[in-house]
Point group: C2
Chain length 201, copies 2
């Protein structure tokens, strides 16, 4: 029987891996990264648990692959539109990109990284370390753009870019959590207003 | 045999319930409120699962009782020290109380309500509703104190207290998440600095 089925090419395998991980990242924003069991995911993608196990040998491997897939989504939706911008224009593009990513419900439960980091911060291991690293890289993106703005004269010299990156991220982080809980755009509007006022835009 | 053991008085029962829920709230900030199984909690408090089941008939009852216990801790540690203050002094007392509650590791995984709300925001049910309600009451506390400050002249008339409450909470919310992940006091200092600058303190 199985010999009559067409062999799966490598690209079919890659495609189905991408479909599985897309679904895994979405599920993780609803049930948590820790709630991402192979059996639950198998139900969601309509595969057998053993079929999934062939892709991911363990729950931790699945979690790491899911984080990697979510990083690609974040890069496409939030970072890519800011390509080629510099300084204050880049700060704006990153902030706008992030708020759109939340508001458009890219993931059903809000920002993948915000919820996964909160969930995993007390769970030592590679998934937690990757999430902390992601948060640090995101803050470093904001800080670098703010530093460029300062070098270009559109941000006061006495501002501390690291402190200001914390303040922008604070607005974004709470907007995401409130939007996920309430599904109305008030927190998105408040975050934007807070950031524009702070940057003098 | 059991007849020779002293009968437990009602106050013993209450005390042990309080001990169980204290442990449950602590565990929930590490493993999540969803990870709070009767068997795991039974291990943590050194009771049998059936003994625990006598206290809490279901996982949801246990979750609700745990939220209630955490609310009492929050009231004692964050709200009580602000008793009798008004206006801007009250805003400061609430902010200082919250940052101390995080920094002193009242719960091992950071603010119980911040992590539980993020975890449960996509899980419809009474626990989620209680957590959303708690967040709204906390924001209303901040907003009411800001409004008093405005009425008393220590906050500009053109400020929107609801917007400003969002901004203060943004600083507190990110400080908690970063402190839980990194265990250093930089985010606490950044949140304080952000709030003092914003309020002109």
């Amino acid at each position: 029987m199985s010999a009559t089925r067409p062999r799966k090419s490598r690209s079919d395998g890659e495609r189905s891996r991408a479909v599985i991980l897309d679904q895994a990242a979405r599920l993780a924003t609803v049930d948590g990264l820790g709630g991402l069991s192979l059996s639950r995911l198998a139900d969601a993608v309509g595969m057998s648990k053993s079929g999934l196990f062939a892709h991911f040998g363990s729950k931790e491997e699945l979690q790491l692959a899911t984080i990697e897939a979510a990083e690609k989504v974040f890069a496409d939706i939030v970072l890519a539109p800011a390509t080629g911008t510099r300084g204050m224009a880049r700060v704006r593009a990153l902030v706008d990109g992030y708020l759109a990513y939340v508001h458009n419900e890219t993931f059903p439960g809000g920002c993948f990284f915000a919820s996964a980091l909160v969930e995993m911060s007390m769970q030592p291991g590679e998934p937690r370390d990757r999430l902390v690293d992601f948060m640090n890289r995101w803050l470093a993106e904001l800080e670098a753009a703010l530093r460029e703005a300062q070098d270009g004269g559109s941000l006061a010299q006495d501002e501390d870019p690291a402190q200001l990156a914390f303040e922008l991220e604070a607005a974004l982080f709470l907007a995401n959590a409130q939007f996920a809980a309430a599904r109305n755009s008030t927190p998105i509007r408040r975050a934007r207003s807070m950031i524009e006022r702070r940057l003098g835009l």
